[in-house]
């Protein structure tokens, strides 16, 4: 058989392999069960978003870094975070409402329209059982109805692609940045954070990361290798919430913003030298950050990378191990 014949015949044969409604129903039921089980086990809800942490930049002084690096790492470069250093700002324009050309992305990312702005699902997660303490003033109820083919006219106040859900402010966070959906069903709490990370100008890491309230608030941390993340293995490893982490966070606040570009993303995502860290804060929110081996950090899908001072980044990266 020649290659062309094989390809045609193979496609024809494989085309017969199809899922069916019974399988769909079983999986739907399983996913629903799994979701509720996750709630009972207090597993965090993973959410995508964009956040920034507001904190002061002054903590990352070289002396602190030397202190946390300790004598065991004498060759490590000293972090030279320059508090207040100015960079060319990255302007993230107000979210362009989806059209048919970018509909796939719109479908993948959950969103809520509030006060004329688009809030997308946050990269900060929150266990439903911890959500009540964070629930603030009720802001309204979403109407649903947005889908990948919606035009701009359908992006009315509290329209969403998450169905009907009550929307609340989040205690401790500015509603201009973060809101949450919150519902109780049969005693189980379902909550999800949504952030507005568009229509902002980012002059340093603080302008985004600062909004996450990381500095001084991390109570525990974990990290994961790219291989684990990439294969969904969730092999989380402990990460000490100590001075080393605090120093890294300070360096992140002072980091230089770099706008995303197709070329940059192709380069970064074409490699595997990535590590993912998960920071749990005092308010029980869990922030996920992706570290790229060449010294960049990204929060969620916000179209900006943060270039951290080389020594600070490398020391922290190395401390995570392989």
């Amino acid at each position: 058989m020649n290659e062309g014949q094989f390809k045609r015949n193979y496609k024809k044969a494989v085309d017969h392999m199809k899922t069916n409604d019974q399988m769909k129903k079983r999986i739907e039921q399983t996913l629903n069960t799994q979701r509720h089980e996750q709630k009972r086990q207090r597993k965090p809800l993973y959410i995508a978003a964009s956040v920034v942490i507001a904190a002061s930049v002054g903590l990352a002084a070289p002396s602190i870094w030397q202190q946390v690096s300790g004598p065991a790492a004498p060759a490590t470069q000293v972090a030279q975070v320059t508090p207040g250093a100015s960079f060319d700002p990255v302007v993230i324009p107000k979210t362009e409402l989806p059209d048919s050309k970018n509909g796939v992305k719109a479908d993948m990312l959950q969103l809520v329209v509030y006060q004329g702005n688009v809030y997308t699902q946050s990269a900060t997660s929150l266990d439903g059982t911890d959500a009540l303490a964070l629930r603030g003033e009720k802001l309204g109820t979403t109407t649903g109805g947005i889908h990948e083919l919606s035009d701009k006219g359908e992006y009315t106040e509290l329209a969403s692609n998450i169905g009907e859900a009550d929307i609340y402010a989040v205690n401790g966070y500015d509603t201009n940045f973060r809101i949450m959906s919150y519902t109780e069903i049969d005693g189980q709490v379902y909550a999800q954070l949504f952030d507005q990370s568009n229509g902002i100008t980012i002059g340093s890491g603080e302008d985004l990361i600062g909004k996450l309230h990381l500095e001084g608030n991390v109570t525990s941390a974990q990290w994961e290798t790219f291989a684990s993340w990439n294969n969904g293995l969730q092999q989380l490893q402990p990460l000490a919430a100590d001075k080393s982490l605090n120093s890294f966070i300070s360096a992140l606040y002072a980091a230089k913003p770099i706008a995303t570009s197709p070329e940059l993303e192709e380069r970064l995502y074409g490699q595997e030298n990535r590590k993912i860290i998960y920071l749990t804060l005092e308010d029980k929110t869990q922030v996920q950050l992706v570290l790229f081996g060449e010294g960049l950090v990204r929060y969620g899908n916000v179209p900006v990378f943060f270039e951290i001072e080389k020594g600070a980044f490398q020391a922290f990266w190395n401390s995570l191990g392989e």
Binding site: F6, K18, Y46
Partner: protein
């Protein structure tokens, strides 16, 4: 009380509708039995729900799902899952009553497992060698090697130039 999370399930089912057949076919090519392929497909969607990775775009998401289910199938087979190999004789038809189609699928299933995914992604999903390398996280030369060996085992006569 309105529900705030069910939409998460709704979203998952949209993803399911988009990729279920693709993943199911990959699992079938690896595992050879419908119920096993369904289970692997289900496990993959559970991983997606639990992990909720952030994707750059739909292709990124598709590649992630293919990688996860491929690794999952290999892992199952590598562990001697259910202490069996794919025994086709006497089994229910994998795909169709058409004996020619059945024979072709059985031929692919007779390949060593590491060749199956490459052959399937190349000849069915029409991915380029470079893309297969990215999806499976192996080098392009490894993809070419597996494709070449797969063709030999399938006794395929190449048409034209070696695809790049």
């Amino acid at each position: 009380m309105q529900r705030s999370m069910p939409q998460r399930g709704d979203h998952m089912m949209k993803v399911y509708e988009t990729y279920a057949d693709t993943l199911f076919r990959i699992a079938m090519v690896h595992l050879g039995r419908r119920e096993d392929a369904e289970e692997a497909t289900q496990d993959t969607f559970i991983k997606l729900m639990e992990k909720a990775p952030i994707f750059n775009d739909a292709e990124h998401q598709k590649a992630w799902l293919i990688r996860v289910i491929t690794n999952h199938c290999k892992s199952l087979l590598g562990r001697g899952w259910r202490k069996r190999e794919v025994k086709l004789e006497g089994a229910d038809p994998l795909t169709t009553d058409d004996p020619e189609d059945q024979a072709l699928i059985e031929l692919v299933l007779s390949l060593p497992v590491k060749y199956r995914s490459v052959v399937h992604l190349y000849y069915y999903e029409d991915y380029l060698i470079r893309e297969i390398g990215e999806i499976l996280q192996i080098s392009e030369s490894a993809v070419k090697m597996r494709l070449k060996r797969g063709r030999q085992l399938l006794k395929l006569e190449l048409e034209g130039e070696e695809p790049q």
